[in-house]
């Protein structure tokens, strides 16, 4: 361009003033970008909330046919001691009949099929399903009518998924660690 070097009007080649504009703008954008992560991340679970992430449970408290509800991560946790009939019902279901196909064996620990541990939060919108109700012998969610079977799998209603099985391991025959 033929403009003189003293022209700062912003035409033609980038000159020193343009550089200052761009540098100042970039610094402002960078500063804002650096402020956003802390402001957003403070909303995530705090360290003490995360520290509550695992719990232990004494299985001798739950007897055959019973369900015990404990609180884990602020949500109810169902600990079921299933009867042989209920276990058989759960195992005999054809996977093709299921909305969210999963074998009963994949939801319990081998050799301890009687203990079913579930997050007691309906996969539709998070209500607490009622034990011993519904068309499939398992749970029924009163909010929008989802039916779960004796393995906690979704059989009927708006919920898309089976009741979640948390990570758990047996510390001994009667002690289980969840989370």
């Amino acid at each position: 361009m033929s403009e003189p070097a003293t022209d700062h009007g912003g035409h033609g080649d980038p000159n020193r003033r343009d550089f200052i504009y761009i540098a100042a703008g970039a610094a402002a954008v960078g500063a804002v970008a650096m402020v956003i992560p802390p402001l957003v991340d403070q909303m995530n679970p705090a360290a003490d909330t995360l520290a509550l992430a695992s719990t232990e449970f004494d299985l001798s408290k739950v007897q055959e046919g019973m369900q015990v509800v404990i609180k884990w991560r602020g949500k109810p946790l169902f600990v079921r001691y299933r009867t042989p009939k209920e276990i058989k019902e759960a195992q005999d279901v054809k996977l093709t009949d299921l909305k969210d196909p999963q074998a009963d064996a994949d939801r319990v620990k081998k050799g301890k099929e009687q203990y079913l541990i579930l997050v007691g939060s309906c996969t539709h919108l998070g209500c607490v399903p009622t034990f011993g109700a519904g068309d499939y012998g398992g749970w029924f969610c009163p909010c929008h009518g989802s039916h779960y079977d004796t393995s906690g799998r979704i059989r009927k209603g708006p919920a898309p998924l089976n009741l979640a099985v948390p990570d758990f391991q047996f510390l001994s025959d009667t002690k289980v660690k969840i989370g």
Partner: protein, 431 residues
């Protein structure tokens, strides 16, 4: 109107001094005293003033309640009961605040239906309408978070259900849900942030209301005839005409408000919310407050979880683009013989959706009537009634609005507001 010249003349020395430094009295005078107002405004137009009274009542009572409320999961419920039993006039202030939310929504629904009927969203009032939709959306968010604060059973499980809606978004839903709740469930972190936001949002609403009124005063008020202001004969000064008319509307509205507060303060609430929150037991029948029932019904009408959420938010989102969906050149439905009937059906459909939202989806609409199974539910059930109404809700905006606007033969529109009034007078005399 923006081209309306200021007629304010400061009289006292103090006014003159202030006017040269901050012309705030001039602004108030030009906006609410000498502001030219269409002379044919009817009582449906008083709801704007009523709504600003509602906002003020909610802010004043809310600030007072915050002085006595404790945002902690172990203390919140009891602190609300303490307000009801022990705090001087606490019962009155809380009942005014709780019923005030219902009154606010009642008034905003009337205000929105009025805008819809008289075409108040059409050019040049698109921004005015969109700002109103934004206020409505903020009101929903504020009301929802406020309902969580007493930490009763409905508060808690309502919060669980509504926050879980976000969790239905594919892939990113889960992390966003945890982020929103501040934990793995609705808990202390959730209650604390909801309290913070419930305190903040009314002031955001007040800010948008100022923009709403600013936009209103730039383009001027619409009126029942839907024609622009053309001459001085079309208008009257805001004070005393509109102020007195608004004042009368406000008095009648406050009488209705008082009937609820003093004679049936819990009629619009839910008994389950007087049970402290228990995360381990869900109430048998979860329903939101009445003003959210139509949207709740739309949510449940869709068999897919994420689809339901999309439809529910879509029902509000469609309002934002309404100015571009209506193809008719005539503003007021007074002169739209076909569209006004679709409008009447639309109002009935909205009320119907509200009714359906309060029912169990599987319950029969007409008990005892023989029915058959259609796809995933009984035909004679609220599920299918809700679906039919939801279909009309969306069809009204997306099909009927654009199509009728093109096909309809509107009645002759008066040349001016004063002509419309004279024609009406002549009709009355003749009859």
């Amino acid at each position: 109107m923006s081209d309306h010249p200021s007629t304010y003349e400061p009289k006292t020395g103090v006014e003159k001094w202030l006017d040269q430094r901050l012309p705030i009295v001039r602004l108030a005078y030009d906006s609410f005293v000498d502001y030219p107002t269409p002379r044919n405004l009817n009582y449906w137009w008083t709801f704007g003033g009523i709504l600003s009274v509602c906002l003020m009542i909610q802010i004043v009572t809310g600030i007072i309640l915050a002085m006595h409320y404790t945002a902690h999961i172990d203390l919140a419920f009891n602190s609300v009961e303490r307000i009801m039993r022990d705090v001087n006039y606490g019962w009155l202030i809380r009942y005014v605040h709780a019923n005030g939310a219902s009154m606010f929504f009642f008034a905003v629904f009337v205000h929105m239906f009025r805008g819809l009927y008289y075409g108040s969203y059409k050019a040049p009032r698109e921004v005015l309408w969109i700002l109103g939709c934004l206020i409505f959306f903020l009101m929903i968010a504020t009301a929802f978070m406020g309902y969580v604060l007493p930490w009763g059973q409905m508060s808690f499980h309502g919060a669980v259900v509504i926050t879980n809606l976000i969790g239905s978004i594919p892939v990113i839903g889960g992390p966003i849900l945890t982020w929103l709740q501040g934990g793995f469930a609705v808990d202390q972190a959730t209650l604390n942030r909801f309290f913070s936001l419930h305190y903040l949002l009314p002031f955001v609403i007040a800010g948008v209301v100022i923009l709403h009124i600013w936009a209103l005063h730039v383009v001027g008020q619409n009126n029942p005839a839907g024609v622009d202001i053309k001459s001085k004969e079309d208008t009257v000064p805001f004070t005393p005409y509109a102020t007195v008319k608004d004042g009368l509307g406000i008095i009648f509205f406050l009488i209705l408000f008082s009937i609820f507060v003093f004679f049936m303060p819990n009629a619009l609430g839910h008994a389950d919310n007087y049970i402290p929150a228990n995360p381990l037991v869900t109430p048998a029948h979860i329903v939101p407050e009445w003003y959210l029932l139509p949207f709740y019904a739309i949510l449940r009408a869709i068999p897919d979880k994420f689809g339901g959420v999309i439809a529910m938010f879509g029902a509000i989102a469609v309002l934002f683009v309404l100015p571009w969906l209506d193809t008719s050149k005539v503003r007021s439905m007074r002169y739209r013989p076909v569209m006004r009937w679709f409008f009447v059906i639309f109002v009935v459909v909205c009320l119907g959706l509200g009714w359906c939202g309060a029912q169990l989806p599987d319950a029969p609409v007409v008990p005892g009537l023989p029915s058959f199974t259609l796809l995933d539910g009984e035909f004679n059930s609220y599920l299918w009634l809700t679906r039919a109404l939801t279909l009309y809700y969306f069809a009204f905006f997306l099909l009927i609005m654009p199509w009728v606007g093109l096909k309809e033969d509107p009645l002759p529109v008066p040349a001016s507001i004063s002509e419309a009034i004279l024609a009406e007078h002549a009709k009355k005399k003749g009859a």
